[in-house]
């Protein structure tokens, strides 16, 4: 054997070992990335799923006219301002008698959420005949109590280290023994706006705000993006300075940090044009500028995938260039364009930073009614809640994240299905 072969043979083991190691690094890299994804999702889901239930306490309330200060014949305005608070207080006092200490009295009241009296108010206003009767009502428990029942308060800790005191625990044990404590599905999360009280906070206003913002974004970015892409792909002269400039610009805009778009929105739309702050209209405009590059790039790819024979066929029977593009090429490219648009919309839905700049961080309880009314969006709501000190907001933040991710996943699924369904081999 020649010396070269010997040399090769001698190093062969080492080389194979190196090969194996290299492969291992590759697998490890993929496994690590996917592991991160799994950890992230389990963490969020683990934190968030308790938010889908809330704890309710059953109260026996006496809706007597004297305590309320109204009768069944009172006007709605009087019914609205009646003293439901006293009714709640009384029913708590009968449930847990012999509470004398002022501090304990206050603690007793804080077992139930501030929403309890409004729950009574809603029931009475819906049916004034309830006045004078005795009712059992399930009312929302305070977030501290809710947290306790979800197992996030350690009873064995020293009393001073937890938010629920020993005397409260004995009350709760008594209530539980009476079957007065129950966990129900948290409808409030989906039917109400933001609140400072975690147990009353919901994501509906943020969802509606997101919807409006996305509508504005879609209404502007889809036609503009598609038109721009058609021009660049089908009509624009090649080797033209302006066309090249536009192309370079679009590629650059796709990589500009999103917060810079926020600065643009703040300086131009809000300061220069005096548009309203924290409105979906301005948010949509800013997100339009951000998603345009995505849509343009996707549309161009879809257009260039349509074979020239289609164009030549149309041109050959006398169609103009514009007719060819709009009546023959564009319909064939539509699935690709829609896929790109959905992906762009999904990006816009998850975007937060530029919206902070235009004032969408405001605390807003009301459900927005139009594109110019103040509102917030889902990611910003998540950002706001993540900053709240209450323990109960952590699970609500995670739950809101789960809702947001569910939307994103379904949008991406639609895009994938669309692509699979209409994929065409020429």
């Amino acid at each position: 054997m020649s010396t070269t072969t010997e040399k090769v043979k001698a190093t062969l083991g080492k080389r194979y070992a190196r090969e194996k190691r290299f492969r291992f690094y590759g697998i490890a890299a993929i496994a690590l990335s996917i592991l991160f994804l799994v950890i992230l999702l389990t963490d969020i889901i683990g934190k968030g799923y308790p938010a889908f239930t809330s704890t309710y306490i059953k109260l026996d309330v006496q809706l007597d006219a004297q305590t309320l200060g109204v009768t069944a014949d009172s006007t709605p305005e009087q019914l609205r301002t009646a003293n439901y608070n006293a009714v709640v207080q009384n029913s708590l006092n009968t449930l847990i008698p012999d509470v004398e200490d002022r501090k304990e009295k206050k603690a007793l009241k804080s077992l139930v959420s501030g929403d309890a009296q409004y729950e009574l108010q809603r029931q009475v206003m819906a049916d004034p005949a309830l006045i004078g009767t005795n009712q059992s009502v399930w009312v929302l428990a305070d977030d501290d109590i809710d947290t306790y029942y979800k197992g996030n308060v350690d009873r064995t800790l020293p009393e001073n280290d937890r938010r629920i005191k020993d005397f409260q625990l004995t009350w709760l044990d008594k209530l539980e023994a009476d079957g007065r404590i129950e966990s129900q599905f948290n409808t409030i999360l989906f039917t109400r706006g933001d609140s400072r009280e975690p147990e009353q906070a919901g994501i509906l206003s943020a969802l509606i705000g997101s919807l409006y913002t996305l509508l504005v974004t879609l209404a502007l970015s889809f036609p503009i993006g598609v038109a721009a892409a058609i021009y660049l792909e089908e009509f624009a002269p090649k080797n033209n300075f302006w066309v090249d400039l536009i192309e370079v610009n679009i590629n650059n805009l796709a990589a500009v940090p999103s917060i810079v778009f926020g600065l643009l929105g703040l300086a131009v739309f809000i300061q220069l044009f005096g548009m309203p702050r924290s409105a979906p209209l301005v948010g949509g405009l800013v997100l339009t500028l951000m998603t345009l590059p995505t849509i343009i790039i996707a549309t161009r790819a879809a257009l260039s995938a349509v074979p020239p024979s289609i164009r030549e066929g149309a041109l050959g029977i006398g169609a103009s260039k514009t007719q060819t593009v709009f009546q023959n090429v564009l319909p064939l490219a539509m699935p690709g364009i829609l896929t790109g648009t959905i992906i762009g919309m999904a990006q816009a839905l998850g975007e937060t930073a530029p919206l902070l700049m235009i004032g969408m961080v405001a605390f807003i309880m009301d459900i927005p009614s139009s594109v110019t009314s103040p509102s917030t969006v889902l990611p910003v709501q998540i950002f706001l809640w993540s900053d709240s000190p209450e323990r109960a907001f952590i699970e609500r933040t995670s739950a809101a994240i789960m809702v947001l991710l569910a939307f994103l996943v379904s949008m991406n699924l639609i895009a994938v299905i669309l692509r699979k369904r209409f994929e065409r081999r020429w």
């Binding site: 090769v8 290299f22 492969r23 890299a29 990335s33 963490d43 009509f235 300086a267 998850g350």
Partner: protein, 463 residues
């Protein structure tokens, strides 16, 4: 009429003008066999022609008027204010303007307002409703006049198709130019505000100063009355966090791209690739939440058990999570360039007896290097510009340190910090955010241009 009302009316007018334009053209046409008068274009093009005449001028006036209305009315109203209001500083003047706008929007506040402001607000309300009325009249008159003008052009000889197509092309060019307008808008707005900032604070102080404390005290005699705007700690903090992020993303992204494109079978590719792409689709606010609530405490506890002192908002936590976010970005870009290396180069290497990993390391990676460098630069630009993760997981302390266990802060954190909340718009503090934005824009722009240039220049230049 409200804005929505005007737009709806215009839509109705558009539909109407299409209808009558088309109808008129059909009425004008006579069949060829009866001697002639043939239409140049299809009837629908005559309809579109009338729509164009009806809508475009009206819409242009509408947009222009709406966007200039508020600033013009405001300046006219402010010039009528008594002299003692006129002489106020710019800050106070803008406060007064806001107050008057609020008054005009909300009649409930009117009763309690100061008489001068109340008068101004009433005047503003009046001018606003007048402007709204004139706008409505003008826009609708233009639209109706447009229909009449358009109808005059509905003749068999009119080359309606060519005219409509020319307008469509102009519209498309306009849409494409929005990209340029956006860039110009960014540059101008950020430059202008930064210029005002550098009027307060010298550019050298901003770029080379090592002390960042933008809080300005209320009174001149308090400590820290002027604030300090040395941005070096922010730049260093940004670079530190980006460096950590790239340390995670580049090896993981590159190795997964290599494995997926060179080793993996179609089965693994079909599942692993989309799974990694999910990482890219997760909103950054979610990563921020994860970094702040899970990763940062974990690192802190880990550090403490090892006897290290770790800040509760360490650069490490933000950087690690940001790195995970960038992995799919890095891997898909590298995947593209690795796939672009022609098979003949691999075959040549195998023919020489090289193993797969040797081929990758000595042939494919060098060949793909420019593309990988481009991907690296784009990933770096992304890390530098990332906002939510650092806003939520990095601290606010502008420490000048390269210790990843300490709390640092970044440019984007302070842009958000300075511009959220209630501030007047002319203080150095608010304007500083635009100066930071300018530096961010310039740095990422350079990185992007270089990266795009490299990627484009070296792509597919093998044969």
């Amino acid at each position: 009429m409200s804005t929505l009302g005007i737009l709806l009316t215009l839509t109705v007018l558009a539909a109407f003008s299409y209808y009558i334009g088309r109808k008129r053209s059909l009425a004008l046409a006579t069949p060829v066999k009866r001697g002639g008068n043939d239409l140049h274009s299809l009837p629908s093009y005559y309809g579109y022609l009338v729509v164009i005449w009806a809508i475009i001028p009206a819409l242009l006036v509408f947009v222009l008027w709406s966007s200039l209305e508020k600033p013009l009315l405001t300046s006219s109203m402010m010039s009528h204010l008594p002299a003692e209001y006129q002489d106020k500083s710019a800050d106070e003047l803008s406060l007064t303007t806001n107050r008057i706008h609020n008054l005009a929007d909300d009649p409930a506040q009117m009763a309690t307002a100061e008489p001068v402001l109340k008068a101004a607000a009433e005047e503003y309300q009046q001018m606003r409703s007048m402007s709204q009325n004139i706008k409505t009249l003008l826009v609708l008159a233009l639209a109706i006049a447009g229909i009449f003008i358009g109808l005059r052009y509905v003749k068999p000889k009119t080359r309606a198709r060519n005219q409509v197509e020319r307008v469509v092309q102009f519209l498309m060019i306009g849409c494409a130019s929005i990209a340029i307008l956006t860039t110009v808008g960014i540059v101008f707005s950020v430059l202008l505000e930064s210029y005002r900032f550098f009027g307060h604070v010298p550019a050298t102080d901003f770029l080379f100063g090592t002390h960042w404390s933008p809080q300005t005290a209320m009174r001149a005699d308090q400590a820290g009355s002027s604030g300090a705007f040395g941005a070096v700690p922010l730049f260093v903090g940004t670079l530190l966090i980006s460096f950590i992020a790239l340390l995670v993303a580049v090896p993981l992204g590159l190795m997964s791209a290599i494995y997926l494109s060179e080793y993996a079978g179609p089965q693994l590719r079909a599942y692993a690739k989309p799974a990694m792409e999910v990482l890219a689709g997760i909103p950054t606010v979610v990563y921020g939440f994860f970094a702040a609530l899970t990763v940062a405490p974990f690192i802190r506890n880990l550090g403490e058990s090892l006897g290290l002192s770790v800040a509760s908002e360490s650069a490490l936590a933000a950087g690690l999570v940001m790195g995970v976010m960038i992995i799919p970005f890095m891997s898909s870009l590298s995947d593209d360039v690795i796939n672009a290396v022609p098979q003949s180069m691999r075959d040549g290497s195998y023919g020489m007896g090289a193993t797969k990993s040797e081929t990758i390391k000595q042939v494919i990676l060098p060949a793909a290097l420019p593309g990988i460098v481009g991907a690296f630069l784009l990933a770096a630009s992304r890390a530098i510009g990332e906002t939510m993760i650092v806003v939520m997981a990095a601290g606010l302390a502008a420490n000048l340190t390269i210790n990843p266990l300490e709390s640092v802060t970044t440019v984007t954190v302070y842009i958000v910090k300075l511009l959220t909340g209630d501030q007047e718009f002319d203080s150095a503090k608010t304007l500083a955010a635009f100066a930071l934005g300018l530096s961010l824009f310039v740095v990422t722009l350079i990185l992007n241009v270089v990266a795009l240039h490299i990627v484009r220049k070296y792509r597919e230049q093998y044969d």
